[in-house]
C-alpha cells in the first residue's frame, strides 16, 4: 500500500487546465497543448481504496507495476491506455442510480450474468468450462470540472477452468466516460450522465454487457455513427494539429464512391505538414474558436486542388472515414487515437456530439 | 397581368363548356359568338400589356450577392398585391358572360351537377346510417347478454360467500362434536380392552385387581414384576404403528413376556421382522 501513498502525493501537484473543445451553433473551441485535470480529495481516497482491493485483477496489476513512473506523468499514463487501439463508440443515455460506490456490486452482478450466458450456450466459441469475471473500476484521467467526475472502466476477462495455469485473457474492455458532474445535481440527482462509451473486445460480450447495463441502469445504448458533416468538422479541426514527438501520420480522407463498377472507395492522403500550412492560412490564429466558414474553406480548397489534378468532384461523394495525425475516425463509429495529449479534446467532442442529440430539456440542464 | 391571363383562361374555358353542350340553340350560338369576340379583344389587350411589360419592366435576379434576396422578393410581393387590389377595384366582378341565355345555361348545368353530387352523397350517407343501425342493434344485444351474465355471476358470488360464512361455523361445530364423540368412544374401547385383557391374559404373578405398571429403574428378571402387562404391550404396538408408519417395529426386550409374544404371534396379531427376529410389528389381523 505504500506505493499508493506516493501516488496520492503526486496528485497534489498543480497542473494547468486549458479550455476544452465545445461546439455551439457552428463554432468550436480547439485545444492546443497539454491537458490536465484536478483531483478532489474524494477521488484520491477512492482510488487508493480500489487499487488496494483489486489486487488480483488485471487492470490494477498493470497500475501497480508502473507506479514508480506515476510520480512524473499520471495523465499520460492512463490516457496511454486509450491510445493506439481501435475503439468502437457507443452513445449512452443518462444512467439511473449509478453510483461509484457500488462498483463492486455491479462487478458481481455482471459476473453472474456472464456466467449464466455462457452456461446457456449463448457465447459462441466458449464452452461451459470457461469462467468469466467482470471488474468495474474507476478510470482516472478525465475530470471535467473541479469536482473531478470520474470515468468508469469495465474489463471482462475469461479463462478456461481446466487449464489451471492459464492466465485470464481480457475479452472485453469497456470505458464509460464523459461524465459530467453538473448533471447529477440538476436532473433529479439520481441520473448520471456518461454519454460516451468506448468498447474494445468481442462482440458477443459487448452485447451481453450492454443488455445488462440497459436493464440495470434503465438507459439506452446505441452505436454511434458520424455523418459526413461531423467528419468534415473533425478533419478541419484536427488536421493542423501535429503531435510533437512522433512523426505525424498523413491526413487521410476516405470517400465512398457511389454506384461505380469496380471502385468502392477513394482515399486521399495528404502530407500533414502541407495540411498544417493550409490550416494556418485558413484559421484565424488569434481566435480560439473554429468557425464553420473555416471548415468550408478548408474543404473547398482541398476539393479544388483535387479537381484540378484528377478532374473528380469530391463533393459528389460521401466521406466515410477520416484520419488525422491525432485520431482516425470512421463513420460507423470506430476510432483510433494516436496522440495522448489530445485524447481529452477528442472525447470532449464526442460528448458534445452526443449531448446535442439529447432532448432539449435535458440539454438545458446540462 | 397574370390576372388578365387567368380571366382569359376562364372565359375560353367557359366558351368551350358552352360550345360542347348538347343543346346548342340559337340563343347559344349567338352567345358563343359574343364570347369569341370578347376573347379576341382580351387577347389583343393581353399582347399589348405583354409588350408593355417587356419594354418597361426589367426582371431582376433575386439572388444578387450584395443585397438580401428577401428584400427583392418582398418588394415584388408588395407590387403584386397593389396591382391586384387596383385590378379588382377597377374590374368589379364580371366573370360571367352578360348574355342572359348563356348565363342561364351555365347556371343550369352547374346546378344539375351539384344536384347529382348531392344525391350521391345522400345515398352514401343512407347506407352508412343503415350499417350503423345494424351495428347498434348487435351491440345492444351483446350488452343485454353481458348484463344477464353479470347478474348470474353476482348471484353465484353471494351464494358462495353465504355458504362460506355459515358453513364454516357449522362445520367447525360438527367436527368438534365428532371429535369429542370419537375420543370418548376410543377411551371406552380402551377401557374395555384393558378389562378384558387383564381378566383373561393376566401376567403371571399379578393378582386380579392389582395392576402394577413396570417401572424403568428396577429390572428384576427373577420375579415376574418386571413384565409388561398385555394391554400396555398392545398399546405400545398400536402407538408405534401410528406414530412411525414406515417402521412400526418394536424391539423385544426382557419386559415383553415371551408367552405373550408367542400368543400374539400364533393368533396372527403380530409378525416378526423378516431379517431380525427381535423385531415385531402389529398387523391388520382384522382384514
Amino acid at each position: 500500500m505504500e506505493s499508493d501513498t506516493t501516488l496520492t502525493s503526486a496528485e497534489t501537484e498543480q497542473w494547468l487546465t486549458t479550455p476544452l473543445t465545445q461546439i455551439n451553433d457552428g463554432q468550436a473551441t480547439a485545444t492546443s497543448g497539454v491537458l490536465a485535470s484536478r483531483r478532489s480529495a474524494a477521488l484520491r481516497r477512492q482510488k487508493s481504496r480500489l487499487i488496494g482491493t483489486a489486487s488480483t485483477k488485471i487492470g490494477a496489476s498493470r497500475r501497480r507495476t508502473r507506479t514508480p513512473r506515476i510520480q512524473t506523468e499520471p495523465e499520460t499514463l492512463l490516457a496511454a491506455e486509450l491510445v493506439n487501439k481501435t475503439w468502437s463508440i457507443y452513445k449512452a443515455s443518462p444512467l439511473y442510480s449509478f453510483s461509484i460506490n457500488l462498483l463492486k456490486n455491479y462487478s458481481k452482478s455482471l459476473t453472474v450474468e456472464l456466467e449464466a450466458a455462457i452456461k446457456k450456450g449463448v457465447a459462441v466459441g466458449l464452452d461451459s468450462e470457461t469462467t468469466c469475471k467482470a471488474t468495474f473500476s474507476v478510470f482516472e484521467g478525465f475530470a471535467y470540472d473541479q469536482d473531478g467526475a470520474q470515468s468508469v472502466k469495465l474489463s471482462v476477462s475469461a479463462k478456461r477452468k481446466q487449464i489451471s495455469d492459464n492466465e485470464p485473457s481480457e475479452v472485453l474492455t469497456l470505458l464509460l466516460t464523459g461524465r459530467m458532474n453538473d448533471a447529477s445535481k440538476s436532473i433529479s440527482g439520481s441520473f448520471t450522465c456518461c454519454p460516451v462509451m468506448l468498447t474494445r473486445g468481442q462482440v458477443m460480450f459487448t452485447d451481453i454487457v450492454m443488455a445488462w447495463m440497459q436493464n440495470q441502469f434503465d438507459c439506452s445504448i446505441y452505436r454511434m455513427s458520424f455523418s459526413q458533416y461531423h467528419l468534415a468538422w473533425m478533419v478541419a479541426m484536427w488536421a493542423g494539429i501535429l503531435p510533437e514527438n512522433t512523426s505525424p501520420k498523413s491526413v487521410m480522407l476516405v470517400y465512398s464512391v457511389p454506384e461505380t463498377e469496380g471502385v468502392d472507395t477513394l482515399t486521399l492522403s495528404i502530407n500533414p505538414h502541407d495540411c498544417k500550412r493550409l490550416w494556418v492560412s485558413v484559421h484565424n490564429a488569434d481566435s480560439s474558436s473554429f468557425l464553420e466558414s473555416e471548415v468550408h474553406t478548408f474543404h473547398k480548397s482541398l476539393e479544388l486542388h483535387f479537381y484540378q489534378h484528377f478532374k473528380i468532384h469530391l463533393s459528389c461523394m460521401q466521406l466515410s472515414s477520416i484520419g488525422t495525425p491525432i485520431v482516425f475516425v470512421s463513420s460507423e463509429g470506430k476510432m483510433k487515437m494516436y496522440s495522448v495529449e489530445h485524447v481529452d479534446s477528442v472525447l470532449q467532442l464526442l460528448v458534445d456530439l452526443i449531448v446535442e442529440e439529447y432532448p432539449d430539456r435535458l440539454q438545458e440542464s446540462l | 397581368m397574370p390576372y388578365s391571363a387567368n380571366l382569359l383562361t376562364l372565359m375560353s374555358g367557359d366558351a368551350q363548356n358552352v360550345a360542347n353542350g348538347p343543346e346548342a340553340s340559337e340563343d347559344i350560338t349567338h352567345a358563343i359568338e359574343d364570347l369569341r369576340i370578347d376573347i379576341d379583344k382580351q387577347k389583343a389587350l393581353l399582347q399589348q400589356l405583354h409588350s408593355n411589360v417587356e419594354k418597361n419592366f426589367q426582371c431582376r435576379a433575386a439572388g444578387s450577392r450584395d443585397s438580401d434576396p428577401l428584400v427583392g422578393i418582398y418588394q415584388e410581393q408588395d407590387a403584386w398585391l397593389r396591382g391586384m387590389i387596383a385590378a379588382v377595384q377597377q374590374r368589379g366582378d364580371e366573370l360571367l358572360p352578360t348574355n342572359h341565355g348563356a348565363c342561364q345555361e351555365i347556371v343550369c348545368r352547374n346546378l344539375v351537377e351539384t344536384c347529382k353530387q348531392l344525391e350521391e352523397v345522400l345515398a352514401h350517407v343512407k347506407s352508412q346510417k343503415q350499417d350503423l343501425e345494424e351495428e347498434k342493434k348487435r351491440v345492444e344485444q351483446w350488452l343485454l347478454e353481458d348484463k344477464e351474465v353479470g347478474r348470474e355471476l353476482e348471484k353465484q358470488i353471494r351464494l358462495a360467500s353465504d355458504m362460506e360464512n355459515t358453513s364454516k361455523k357449522k362445520i367447525k361445530a360438527e367436527l368438534g362434536g365428532k371429535y369429542k364423540k370419537a375420543h370418548e368412544y376410543h377411551i371406552f374401547l380402551m377401557q374395555k380392552m384393558i378389562e378384558f385383557v387383564s381378566e383373561h391374559f393376566a401376567p403371571p404373578g399379578a393378582e386380579k385387581g392389582k395392576q402394577k405398571r413396570h417401572g424403568i429403574g428396577a429390572l428384576d428378571t427373577t420375579g415376574y414384576a418386571h413384565l409388561l402387562p398385555l394391554y400396555s404391550f398392545l398399546e405400545v404396538l398400536m402407538n408405534r404403528c401410528f406414530e412411525v408408519p414406515h417402521d412400526p417395529y418394536i424391539q423385544l426386550s426382557e419386559e415383553h413376556w415371551s408367552e405373550y409374544v408367542e400368543l400374539l404371534l400364533r393368533c396372527g396379531i403380530v409378525v416378526r421382522h423378516p431379517n431380525d427376529s427381535n423385531l415385531i410389528k402389529l398387523v391388520a389381523f382384522h382384514l
Partner: protein, 154 residues
C-alpha cells in the same frame, strides 16, 4: 441579363402548367419528373428538367414560359447544395412569389447528410422558399410530394 430565368418572357400557355426542375445530376430530377407526370390533373402538365442555371441560349426560342420552378437538393452531397445555391442566383424575383419551392431529397438518412439541416433551412428562408423534405426512392414519400405539388391551391 439574358441569363436570368425571366418570368413572363412569353405569354403563359392557357390550361397548361409548365414546370422546370433544377437539380444536380444524381439528385433525382428524372425521378421527380416521372412522379409528377403520373399525377392526374385537370390541366395539362409539362415538365422540363435542368442540371444548372442559367439555361443554355440554344433552346431559348422553343422554350415556353415556366410557371413553376422546383429546386431539387440532395442533402447527402455537398455538390448538390453548391449547385442549388448558384442556381438560385439566376432566377427572376417574380418566381419567388409563390412560384417555386425547394425539395430536399435524402431526408430519411441523417447519417449520410453532408450538411447540417439548419444550413438548408437558412438558404430556403433567405429566398422565401417552401421546403419539402422527402426520400424520393420511397413510394409513399413520392406520392405525398406529388400530391402537394399538384394540389389545387385553395
Amino acid at each position: 441579363m439574358a441569363e436570368i430565368l425571366k418570368y413572363l418572357a412569353k405569354l403563359p400557355t392557357p390550361l397548361t402548367a409548365v414546370t422546370l426542375i433544377v437539380g444536380d445530376e444524381g439528385a433525382g430530377t428524372l425521378e421527380l419528373a416521372n412522379l409528377l407526370l403520373q399525377q392526374i390533373t385537370d390541366y395539362h402538365l409539362r415538365v422540363h428538367t435542368a442540371t444548372r442555371l442559367p439555361l443554355p441560349e440554344d433552346g431559348a426560342a422553343s422554350r415556353p414560359n415556366f410557371d413553376f420552378v422546383i429546386f431539387l437538393l440532395d442533402i447527402t452531397r455537398m455538390e448538390s447544395f453548391k449547385q442549388t445555391e448558384e442556381a438560385l442566383q439566376y432566377v427572376d424575383v417574380a418566381y419567388f412569389h409563390g412560384r417555386s419551392c425547394l425539395i430536399v431529397n435524402g431526408a430519411k438518412k441523417p447519417d449520410r447528410w453532408a450538411n447540417d439541416y439548419s444550413i438548408v433551412e437558412e438558404l430556403a428562408n433567405a429566398y422565401n422558399l417552401q421546403i419539402i423534405c422527402c426520400q424520393l426512392e420511397d413510394e409513399e414519400d413520392g406520392a405525398v410530394v406529388r400530391r402537394r405539388l399538384t394540389a389545387p391551391a385553395i
